[in-house]
């Protein structure tokens, strides 16, 4: 577990060990902490633009004592078989899940973000935070322990959720990620007991799936 303050300090430290400036997207619990939805997270999920950027980051965290770990039971089997699965690095209880370009095939648009966090050390580490609708969608893809709880937290905090954006983005990515619509529909069904989701969004998903 890592809290907001420790996370900021850790990124500042990493920026001191980087060999060049790098930019990446923070998703999952890290993004939720930056956006003040929660105070602690189990893992730090980052998506890099290129493998080179990820390698620079890995080199820096290795100097700090983080080492590569097997993906183990963090993700289910269908996700573990994918080429776009993350590299896992950990040190004690802190863990990094490092993706490149996409999250299990879900391509990220690096130009759309709501927050920019710049850690200035020897080099710069720039982290972008996507809009919360995208966080909900990504959480329904990763489907780890506590991901659903995180979605509920976002929904309870934000009054207005743009379900149309979520559904349209999922449909756009269905060729890269075949099970995305099924997973999203499952999550949305569970969320019906907490929030109102119009039937038309389910219909859009069903027609896209067929």
């Amino acid at each position: 577990m890592i809290n907001t303050k420790d996370q900021e300090e850790l990124f500042k430290l990493i920026a001191e060990y980087l060999e060049k400036d790098i930019e990446c997207f923070a998703i999952g619990g890290t993004a939720m902490m930056f956006a003040s939805y929660k105070n602690t997270t189990k893992d730090i999920d980052l998506v890099f633009k290129t493998i080179e950027d990820r390698n620079v980051f890995i080199k820096a965290i290795e100097k700090l004592g983080y080492s590569n770990k097997a993906i183990g039971n963090i993700y289910d089997n269908k996700r573990k078989e994918l080429f776009s699965k993350p590299l896992i690095y950990s040190r004690g209880e802190e863990r990094f899940d490092l993706f490149v370009d996409s999250v299990f095939g879900f391509k990220l648009d690096f130009l759309t973000f709501v927050q920019k966090h710049e850690f200035i050390g020897k080099q710069e580490l720039i982290l972008f935070v996507p809009i919360f609708e995208l966080l909900i969608l990504l959480k329904s893809i990763t489907r780890r322990e506590k991901d659903f709880e995180d979605i509920v937290t976002i929904i309870k905090t934000e009054k207005i959720i743009d379900w149309s954006f979520i559904v349209k983005n999922a449909i756009k990515q269905k060729n890269n990620l075949p099970w995305i619509l099924i997973d999203l529909e499952d999550t949305m069904q569970k969320l019906r007991s907490i929030t109102l989701i119009k039937q038309k969004y389910f219909d859009e998903l069903y027609s896209a799936q067929n």
Binding site: E8, F11, K12, A15, D21, F34, A35, S36, Y37, F113, V114, Q115, K116, H117, E118, F119, I120, G121, T157, E158, K159
Partner: protein, 155 residues
Amino acid sequence: MISTEGKYTVETFAQKNNLTRQSAINKLSKLKKAGLVSVSGGGKQKRIYTLHTKPQKEQNGFYKIVNKYSPDKLNPSFEHYVYGKYTVENAIIDGLLIKDIRTKQAISHLFRHIKDWTKLFRLAKQKGLIMQLHEQYNYARKITKCKTMPKRYKL
């Protein structure tokens, strides 16, 4: 149950939550400590309390610097937080990267406050923005009263 998001005065907050004036002040103070309330006004002006659903963090990046020094104020298109030393020089380079006319207009006023030309040109070189920086400087010289660039950086 405390009322959610919105703007309140002490009186409206007390009325809406069925509290006495003093209880409302105490409650607002606790919420402010938790980062859930921001306050404007004070002194002769009436205090207006803005309630948020999430804790708010004060921004300290590009828009903070631009809106401090430039008479052309910008509406932030993203929240920018910086951990480390972020100066006018960094803001000029970030402004050039944004590539928006209003932003470029606003950053022209930052040339007045440059302290470290070496840093400015080092950052511009890193991002491949030397030509754009000279163009921006020439434009800033026309519309603002700004410092002269040291001769060694002139083209």
